[in-house]
């Protein structure tokens, strides 16, 4: 099932085209990185996806709904954090949490849980105007989490956060995805952070999509190294065998599994080899752990001369 379907999306501001025939999909249950240089059109696309902006042309379906025409129904199921979250300055943190919870048909207690998860619960009675940028960001994330959304759209979620808060947020995204199957779209410039959570990527530059797909597909297509986790009856023996392969650059054994990094362009050869070794070492399952976003970004965006 596709969570987000975008076809030939175009959007202009005062005659200046910002998005030109943007096309991509994000399947349900994925954590998708939305990557591109400044001014690529990421924020505009996210605003079209949530129904804050109206498309000029093209098709946009989010969770099977048209964001502009069926925005109210859609936003019941989607949480969003904007790039520069703006709030009514005079309002208290608790007031915003309370009213957003009510609009989402949830209790204040649920809003408080979101506030605790993001570390803003100690500032409930403070006016929003008194919060630092980092805590405004945390408040935005808390508001996005109210109502157990099926889809989270996070625009630069780690901006203004300290390193510990960044790690907590990334862990939260991972947990939401893993435990609750939430689809997440994360737009960020911080590629190493995205690499930690994304299993899907959409690359956009100059208002056009350059590439999109699962990390596994993209890593194969662009010859970027990939990491696999293999559970086997004899992991150490399997690891000794794998380290001898010329295209395996790293092997790690732990918790009954072997983590293997395969150089770009050799994934098919590796999987064939594993098929043979699998019988000897009783391989139980193989899981794709992730690819490296930085070289993908380099090959898809920078090599085309569109990165700023």
């Amino acid at each position: 099932m596709v969570a987000i379907k975008v076809r030939a999306l175009s959007k202009s501001f005062r005659g200046y085209p910002v998005l030109r025939d943007v096309t991509f999909d994000v399947p349900e249950g994925r954590v998708a990185g939305f990557l591109g240089p400044n001014g690529a059109g990421k924020t505009t696309t996210l605003k079209v996806l949530i129904g804050l902006l109206r498309r000029d042309r093209g098709l946009v379906e989010v969770l099977g709904l048209d964001p502009w025409e069926e925005g109210m129904e859609l936003r019941e199921r989607v949480g969003v954090l904007h790039e520069k979250p703006l709030y009514p300055r005079g309002a208290r943190v608790s007031t915003l949490l309370r009213y957003v919870a009510r609009l989402r048909g949830r209790s204040y207690r649920e809003a408080l849980e979101a506030a605790k998860a993001t570390g803003v619960a100690d500032y409930l009675e403070q006016p929003v105007a008194s919060l630092s940028r980092g805590y405004l960001q945390r408040l935005g994330i808390a508001l996005a989490l109210i109502g157990d959304p099926e889809l989270l759209l996070l625009d630069e979620p780690t901006a203004n956060l300290d390193p510990l808060a960044r790690m907590r947020l990334l862990n939260l995204v991972r947990a939401l995805h893993k435990d609750l199957g939430v689809t997440v779209v994360v737009s960020s410039h911080i590629i190493p952070e995205l690499s930690l959570v994304c299993d899907y990527a959409v690359f956009i530059a100059g208002g056009r999509t350059l590439e999109w797909g699962s990390m596994e597909e993209l890593a194969k297509k662009y010859g970027v190294s990939s990491t696999y986790r293999i559970r086997a009856a004899e992991p150490r023996a399997l690891a000794r065998e794998l380290i001898g392969l010329s295209y395996v650059s790293a092997v790690e054994v732990g918790e009954g599994a072997v983590k293997v990094r395969v150089e770009g362009g050799y994934v098919d050869a590796f999987l064939r080899e594993l098929d043979t070794l699998g019988r000897a070492y009783q391989v139980k399952w193989i899981a794709y752990e992730g690819g490296e976003l930085a070289p993908l970004y380099e090959r898809i965006v920078v090599s085309r001369g569109v990165a700023s």
Partner: protein, 260 residues
Amino acid sequence: MKGYAGKLLYRVWVYQRYVHGTLLGGIVVALLILVPVHAAAAVLLAPTVLSSPGGGPGLGFVASATELLLVFITVFMVASYAGDLSGGGGQLFLSQPLSRAGYAAAWLVATVATPCLVYALSLALPLLIIDPRLLSALGLWNLMRAVLEVAEWGAFLFLLATVSRSRALVVILGLFAELLLPWILLLPMALFAVVPGTPPYSVRVFATVYVVLYPSKYSFFSQGGAVLVGPGAAAAEASTLMAAYAVAALLYAKERMEVV
């Protein structure tokens, strides 16, 4: 469909409570000024008003003066709506399950309907409590036309705010249109008033448009056949215009209002 409509209305109800909460300070300050002023005026002027045959102009002067406060309140409240649209509240709440028209409707009620209602009650209730004849002396029609005029311009400013999102434009145009323009427009008509006989048709049309835009000033033209419609019709046309502005604002919000 019933479920959808129910959800829609519930969310507008929830959101208008939030908006009223944010504007509560202004409403309370207005009440703290209006109620004592109206009550004091009623007490002090009651002997004169009730003893003179026509009721005397005293209460009318007080009501005209406090109406200025209502003008300021609505203009600045509509401007705060424009500020919310461009400054963050719109982005936050329109990212929630609230329709664009519902968002605008909540603000329309809070910035135009509520101040007008509060003003009307702050004037009518003290008069009714002190002596119901005071309300008759002031003239219920006069009170209604004054409130209608502010509501009509409030709805126009609301439409302007929805389209432009400019606080400055709302404040400047609002204060100009409600405080200065009615007197500026009287100048050309005053020139015709010195000429004997019925004014030319074009002047009567102009005067009719004037009383539809400023129904509380109908009495300026009540003699000499200068207006083509009666006071009731002028008020009805002003109400229609107000409703048209409100509907246009809600339709614009539904169909075109974007949050950049």
